[in-house]
Amino acid sequence: MLHATIPHSHGGAAAAAEHDAHPGAGAADGHAAGGHAGFRGGQVDHRANGFDPHLILRDFDEGTTSRLPDGRTLREWTIAAAEQEIEVAPGVKFAAWSYNGRIPGPTLRATEGERLRIRFVNGGRHPHTIHFHGIHPSAADGVAALGAGEIPPGGETVYEFDAAPYGLHLYHCHVRPLAEHIAKGLYGTFIIDPKDPREQADEMVMVMNGFDTNFDRANEIYAANTIGFAYSDTPIRVKRDELVRLYLVNVLEYDLINSFHLHGNFFDYIPTGTSKQRSELTDTVMLCQGQRGILEMRFPYTGRYMFHAHQSEFTELGWMGFFEVTN
């Protein structure tokens, strides 16, 4: 099955309705959004983009499963690369490359020990691959000259490997020029759950990224899940005292580091998600490109809590948002 028909419907209707109705949405009249940095012209056209960061947030793609002769689970996805123009900020168009019509690409979710089979179709005009982080044979690494190597336009291949180790990983195109192939949008989150599952939680994914719209190898716009200020124009709603688990991935190109800072609360931090024990209780983490980690938190008070990169520049160029904690 091709997952190109985005947006997905997982709880989408409710989120969209809440989204449209929000009174604080947009700085269309030219006033800053409640004193914070923001875009003029309210929000981008998510429908025309084909994806909405609010839907991407809690959208996990578990693919289709079947049973192998040896009793193991075979989990399969089809991912297609395409070229698509997206609105990265109100009124600003960017010629992007995407996996399955969205940036970041689908959040692939499996359980450790499963057999994974990813069919990759290159619908773009340049060669592409999918390079997965994880443990796998070199032929499935998705880089030039190994296995199927670069997949030419119109070509396709299958990457097959076992899901290991459990944790939070990512995938991205690995064709030179690498920075360009990544910065144009070819990346996504890859979660391998432990066999013994984690505690039930309100789970969400944030891929920290940016866009170099004028091709000077520096980003003009920063965001989590592509659209800057999307979560400050419309905060992410969470319940008081409920466990929130945030899968945080940094793919930001051109800048050396990125970071995540939470206001009014602390979180357990599990680097790369390869443990069930926190390594730190903190409110700020720093990640280089490709680094990722799981953040677990509970909000003891209701109200709005900001989160953003603790590089103030990134914050005011789009990478900020709010949690709205309700009873």
Binding site: A89, G91, T213, E220, S312, E316
Partner: protein
């Protein structure tokens, strides 16, 4: 050879019936018809331009008011430009204006919310619909003075200080000039030419520098040379008209007087540019208003007064006429300061600087014959010395003022 001859004769015969104006009109009509046919056919053979749109905005005016930066921009590129977002010092900020794309040569004012701090530098980045960025640097933020009566009074005072008073003082050399022998007077005229030559170069360079910074839509640097050509030709026309009129009324001996007038006009145009520079520098906070500046300009411009009176050493102009010459040469500094402070436009300023240079060159051409006595050949050492002294004087006093 012979065949060509026959054809030309035939053509001449065929055209004999038409009036001259109709013949002049024929190519024009053909051009109109060709353009009409070309556009009616949708420009056959020419496709759309390849590649992305070319976006260019020139910032023509920067105004800082409490809590906001206002930029007046002009589209001097070939394609419309839509300003989608604005960032100041790497932070997106709210702004008003330019809600619609700005067309070619169109102008818009953006009011950008920014709690700026006096004396600090800011970079305004305009993010267009294609993702291109157009940046504008503010070297040192300073409140733009409100254009009220007190402000215009201050600018007028400044113009009088640097333009009118020094020139009037310089003209007081007239009684002294009258008593020096003709050979020394020629050296003095050479000094004047040296002074003017320096001013012409200075005005041209200033104009070229300004034109390079501003909008290129109206010609950029070409405007400086256009301005120079226009001023030169107009003054040439005026001076030959004056001399014809003089011949007609048989009032000989007034040539020095009209020369003085031409010099006054040329210097006036130059001082208009100087005033513009002062007014602009003041509003952008780049000018330290102080005694030093006024003293520097006074010394610099006093020499201009000398240049005006040198040609009229032998005549006896009335006090009123002398005052008029001084005002024509000096008062434009006041006007320039007003324009520079209230409605500065780099294209206009570049044109005016060019006009100043052209006017001065015209004056130099007029003065040139007086550097040599009728029986002399080539330039006498005294005259060459005068020319060099003029250049040196302007150079040295110019070091005292930098705007």
């Amino acid at each position: 050879m012979e065949a060509g001859q026959v054809t030309a004769d035939d053509a001449r015969d065929a055209n004999r019936g038409l009036p001259a104006w109709a013949l002049g009109l024929v190519p024009l009509l053909l051009v109109v018809a060709a353009i009409g046919a070309f556009s009616a056919l949708g420009g056959p053979g020419l496709g759309e331009r390849r590649g992305p749109p070319v976006e260019a905005l020139a910032v023509e005016r920067t105004t800082l008011v409490p809590g906001a930066i206002e930029l007046t921009v002009r589209n001097d590129g070939p394609d419309p430009v839509a300003v989608a977002q604005v960032a100041v010092n790497d932070a997106f900020t709210a702004f008003r204006g330019a809600g619609e794309p700005i067309g070619r040569l169109g102008s818009e004012t953006l009011v950008i919310a920014q709690p700026w701090i006096e004396g600090e530098a800011y970079e305004v980045s305009l993010l267009t619909s294609t993702g291109a960025t157009i940046t504008h640097a503010i070297d040192a933020a300073v409140l733009t003075p409100a254009a009220d009566l007190g402000f215009f009074g201050l600018m007028a005072l400044l113009g009088i200080y640097v333009g009118v008073i020094p020139i009037a003082l310089g003209m007081l050399w007239l009684p002294w000039i009258r008593r020096i022998p003709p050979a020394w007077l020629r050296a003095l005229m050479a000094l004047t030419v040296g002074l003017l030559g320096f001013l012409a170069i200075d005005a041209t360079l200033e104009g070229v520098e300004l034109a390079g910074e501003g909008s290129q839509a109206f010609g950029g640097v070409a405007l400086v040379f256009l301005g120079a050509a226009v001023a030169y030709l107009v003054l040439t026309g005026v001076s030959s008209w004056l001399s014809q009129r003089r011949r007609a009324s048989a009032a000989a001996g007034a040539s020095g007087s009209s020369l003085a007038m031409l010099i006054a006009v040329g210097i006036g145009l130059h001082n208009l540019g100087e005033g513009l520079a002062i007014g602009t520098a003041y509003t952008t906070g780049a000018l330290a208003l102080g005694a030093f500046l006024v003293v520097g300009f006074a010394l610099h411009n006093t020499t201009e007064g000398l240049a005006i009176v040198a040609p009229i050493a032998s005549s006896r102009p009335s006090l009123g006429r002398l005052a008029a010459l001084g005002v024509i040469a000096g008062a434009p500094a006041v006007l320039g300061a007003w324009i520079g402070a209230a409605a500065f436009n780099t294209s206009v300023a570049a044109f005016l600087f060019g006009a100043g240079a052209g006017a001065i060159v015209q004056v130099i051409v007029q003065l040139a014959p007086s550097l040599r006595a009728a029986d002399e050949r080539g330039l006498q050492p005294r005259v060459v010395g005068g020319l060099l002294a003029g250049l040196a004087l302007m150079f040295a006093t110019g070091l005292l003022v930098s705007v």
